[in-house]
Assembly symmetry: C2
Homo-oligomer: 790 residues x 2
Amino acid sequence: MSAQEKSRPGSTPVGEILGRSVPRLEAREKVTGRAVYTDDMTLPGMLHGALLGSPHAHARLLAYDTSRARAMPGVKAVLTAEDLPDHRIGAVIKDQPLLARGKVLYAGEPVAAVAAVDLETARRALRAIDIQYEPLPEVFDPEEALRPDAPVLHEQREAYFSLAENTEARARTPNAAAHIRLTEGEPDSVWKSCEVIVEDVFETPAQQHIYLEPCSTLASVDRDSGKVTVYTSTQSAFRSQAIIAEALGLPMSKVRVIVPRVGGGFGGKTESTNQPITVALAKAAGAPVKMTFSRTDDMVMMRSRHACRIHMRTGATRDGRILARQVKLHYDTGAYADDGPFVAGVGAWFARGPYRIPHFDIECWCVYTNRLRASAFRGFGNPQIHFASEVQIDRLAEKLNMDPIELRLRNALETGEKWIGGAPVESGTLEACLERAREASDWSRRRSPRASTPGKRRGIGMAAVGHVSALLGSSATIRLNEDGTVTVSTGAVDIGQGSDTALAQVAAAALGLSLEQLNFTGPDTDGSPYDWCTGGTRTTFTVGRVITQACAQIQQQLFEQASEMLERPEQELELRPGGVVGVKGRPEAAVTFGAIAARALYFKGGPIIASSRWMFPAVPIDPRRTSAQGLSSMGNGYFVFGAQVVEVEVDELTGHVQVLEAWSVHDVGRVINPAAAEGQIQGGFVQGLGFALTEELVWKDGQLTNPSMSGYKVLGAPDVPVAIHPILLEHPHGEGPFGAKGVAEASLVGVAAAVSNAIRHATGAHVTRIPATGERVLRALMTTREGGAP
Amino acid sequence: MSAQEKSRPGSTPVGEILGRSVPRLEAREKVTGRAVYTDDMTLPGMLHGALLGSPHAHARLLAYDTSRARAMPGVKAVLTAEDLPDHRIGAVIKDQPLLARGKVLYAGEPVAAVAAVDLETARRALRAIDIQYEPLPEVFDPEEALRPDAPVLHEQREAYFSLAENTEARARTPNAAAHIRLTEGEPDSVWKSCEVIVEDVFETPAQQHIYLEPCSTLASVDRDSGKVTVYTSTQSAFRSQAIIAEALGLPMSKVRVIVPRVGGGFGGKTESTNQPITVALAKAAGAPVKMTFSRTDDMVMMRSRHACRIHMRTGATRDGRILARQVKLHYDTGAYADDGPFVAGVGAWFARGPYRIPHFDIECWCVYTNRLRASAFRGFGNPQIHFASEVQIDRLAEKLNMDPIELRLRNALETGEKWIGGAPVESGTLEACLERAREASDWSRRRSPRASTPGKRRGIGMAAVGHVSALLGSSATIRLNEDGTVTVSTGAVDIGQGSDTALAQVAAAALGLSLEQLNFTGPDTDGSPYDWCTGGTRTTFTVGRVITQACAQIQQQLFEQASEMLERPEQELELRPGGVVGVKGRPEAAVTFGAIAARALYFKGGPIIASSRWMFPAVPIDPRRTSAQGLSSMGNGYFVFGAQVVEVEVDELTGHVQVLEAWSVHDVGRVINPAAAEGQIQGGFVQGLGFALTEELVWKDGQLTNPSMSGYKVLGAPDVPVAIHPILLEHPHGEGPFGAKGVAEASLVGVAAAVSNAIRHATGAHVTRIPATGERVLRALMTTREGGAP
């Protein structure tokens, strides 16, 4: 019996709460506008913080003059790197100072911080700070940055993976943050056995998270104990706690992070510098400080998805068995590495796609350039490589004259097969997803030539989806209250995706309670058990799982008490709806949780409480299968699968692409809350569509040219298809809560490729660079017509 | 091996943190005045609440007119019982409405509540409320109230213990809230075997808690979720949560209680009505409401110690073996029962004293009168009966011509003997305490006739102390942070006694950490594990114990990780100071908690977390030993012992008693923080001295005459002895954390008897009624000289 089954109470009608689209716990406060986000909060005597960004993309910091700013009335603190300890932070490589130190590495990099009585004063003070720079040569292209003679960003460079040990390779690539190489089979000699070969260069953009709520932090420091309390918009209370402690040299025992409502994150609020700098301002000013970014500051100073250039070649036999793949990836991590090496690692790990390809050679670079640092972003390196892979699969199908779904089905990994490195595919449901997508989208009919609006061309395209769920560890504490209601504490941050509601449903189902009988609390590093982060498609799976584990312990304690109260052995007991333990087959023999709680608290046993812990068991690289340079462990989640189909209409005159209808099929294991799961899938689809069609940070001479919502096009209602059909398949996962898996990132991963493939189907244009703006589509169309690529 | 020993890490130098007078964690903020108490808090849009008290001690409520008050500008809510659900609250008997319903039962009883924009407006509105009363006959003396024809307070009376089942007895005693009878041996026939018999009637006053901070509550109700958040000055976050939920018909899942700093409680902040009424105001007003009592409102409306009248007879053989005791107790519980039945039960349970008395008959009544409700108060029924018992023991010694310490030693219960009902005396250290008190106070010398200031008489007296520690249950959750520091969560409320510091020392000792490496959090019902209450001399014992249990689990998880990291079996590992696990005998082989945490969080095992639970195992009455009417269970803690000695000087002209020096000896098992333990003992002594000499609520015609700090005399610096010597004995308790037991209540229990005995020694006056005001001492002196009692 799996742990999940063990945690599933015998006869509880879990169906009553599981699988129901119960409204969000916080729906009403969000609809009324009463939900409290960090920026809605104030503390007595609170100041406002703001940051000064560098005008240069690469320059030496020669001298500061902050005297005018410090002298301004209402200015309570002015900080530069000189006022801070020299602690560098970063998820993987600790290369980033809170404020630029010695050099600036990208235009907009924070160089000074001010706290003042109001934001206007703070901004005036920033303008009064005088800094002397000595401009340095810049580099913006990751392949150029890899050259031995490129301008060097980090003189004291730590570099990851294969470079960490190989000094010669490091010397040759002064701006490499990581290098990974994965090979299997005979990647050099196999090509001669390939009857069909396709080869392309793909480019994907620096997409920005555009969470609705810009970064915001409110920090106060207790003057007596030195304890720091931070309210902040973050994806992880505990990672924020760690970063603040590390950046400022505090023990974590002195840092408390509380997370109010969060307006989105998408990976951009996982490893932030804005929390420690706000704390530093509060310490310096001796008063609470709130720092909320403007949209422009957020876009200029925070993070983006890694832009990526991908050289890819794939070869197959005439009957459609894919034999070989060669990939070279360049992830542009910008000025600081952050979690870039892991993003690149995930990209490398997914470069084979969810297919059985016996021979491959994947080389992946993560490279510093003088641009905004790149970071985690929904999909974590996978959308980039998935775009390339799934477009190239379609190209291969074309050359083979096969239906692209057929080609995918022929090569799809199945349950029991291994991913790169040897991690097992436990639940290989790609085939089921592809079949369902084909059926739901009426693929064969739509794939046939179809009428379109005059001047427009209609086409349909698809992409397979493979991603992971369940990353790293979590814990939960559950307590029975004196009246039999239950408090569920987790560290999970609901960043807007609805995890609080889904997790409460999991707990309610596990104990047979209504949502009213549950108090779902957290996240607060003082009161909540640890959770790593809302990211990696892990919250439903991992936090849900520790909740069911803790519920199983609570049930055990309830049954111990009830067994004595009802004078029946525990195995004859059952949970009943509404907080009742009864004797199986005897409807009249029952005790309420409230009666059990009263007995436990006032007669025997003591409080009913349980804490649980779990983490995804990392899978080390199996060297007999895969030769790996730079990675010892790759398995960081269970595999999840999906398939995405879009029908597009392309304007022949402008190249504008309109997606008419979309189908997004995902195996979610077990549906906890259909509306929430469908919402995730639709939201992910739209974000993927922005990646595919419009979203791109554009730099000119090192300056970001479009850091605003007018310059950076996020899709609006008219831009998205009238119908995005979320289709949920339920192939339960043995380790997930009630069989559930995550879906968050998978919902974005295949969209860009499906759109490109549909454009190809509609127009013949082979779009290898996204976003597929009208201009790029027209150019691709011309190239294609001129007999260029394909 | 006991659980405590198991939880004690092998070689940790616990001595480095245990037994050290480390400063209070919150010392600095209290000294600077920056500590935040409930009344220091504000919320946006916050209103102020106030209560209207009844002018009558017993009257029917005929009609309300609140229209004028409601119409006043700035008044946001006016409530009477008509606006509230008819839910009664009370710790043992649920007889108390939030606002008087149908009748008022004491002068000052809250009848209406107002929330307004400021306190002035709220008070003006209270004065504008018109209520029609029909006065009813009143009863103020508990023995009078017991008569069948007495005015009846509760027509719908629930009554406890023997009365619950005996309808005839109930009918005969319409105002009895509880009746208990405990007998052993041959209590009727034994008297003829007694060679010496003493008999007295004792009276003890309604003492008030006079916590420095009057009751204060700040409540807000989330309009969308309905969740109630309450900041309040309470001794128990979780009991307050339960009372609010019960009083207002809410599930506890909808109630959150957070406890800021608390300025004392002494039992008076355990079961309050001010929290739910503040919540009701916040709900009615649709805005946060703060209600902070003035000292007078607090004295008139809150609670006091039970006044008590005690008829007691004790008989012994000529050689000082106490054979028999007969006791009749009347605890005046005032208008509502609250926990009065249990207070009376503890009184009955302690009526034999800590002595081997084979024959006894103890009858105890808890009686309603038209006075302020009485409640828990440091000692919980024991100070009253202890006063009587220990004075009578001295009288017996006098008659036997024995030294009073000798007589006590001859009859003291020893380890392994049984208390009333059969609860074992696990650690019978009364003898050690008596010996130590005799030695420390230089008893023999001071007991001899001594010179005194002219017009004054000097004397010395003593009392034995027996009390309990460890009541009910608690739980703790401990988590390892990412940097190896540790978060300790408990529900324990530090009400000023220093438990946070002592408990943090326990956790630090158990894990070999410094206090800086610990984050001690709580109490917050959303984030903290359950703890019953700060009361019953239980926090150090019970919460300390669950902390050591959880630490033992954490150590186990640390060792599992370290065993793999250091490649050594767990039994070869040891904790080292500062958060390190090392290999025994190999100083160089070690890993830090931080390294273990990183491994657990990012590689294997998951978050390190543990929750523990424990409760004192209740001891049922053994019917073969003790015949009990009304009680099935008596054992509610482990016994703790002490001895208290005072030297007094009595002014012959005024009767004024000045205590010159005092010795208070307590077996605390193991000293956690000497300064804190000594502070507890000194504070308890002074509060006991107030009980002995000055503190008394005085009613006239049902009205409290002295509800102010000028009318109610609390001892000041000139009134207390220059030297109160706290003496800590360490006889470790097998179940306590590192052997520790509690001391809080024991430090008060014997003071009044020691003072009375010293007055007798100094002057010959036999003081049986306290407080021993000058007038009463002079009257006792005259009675004695006139050949009355003794």
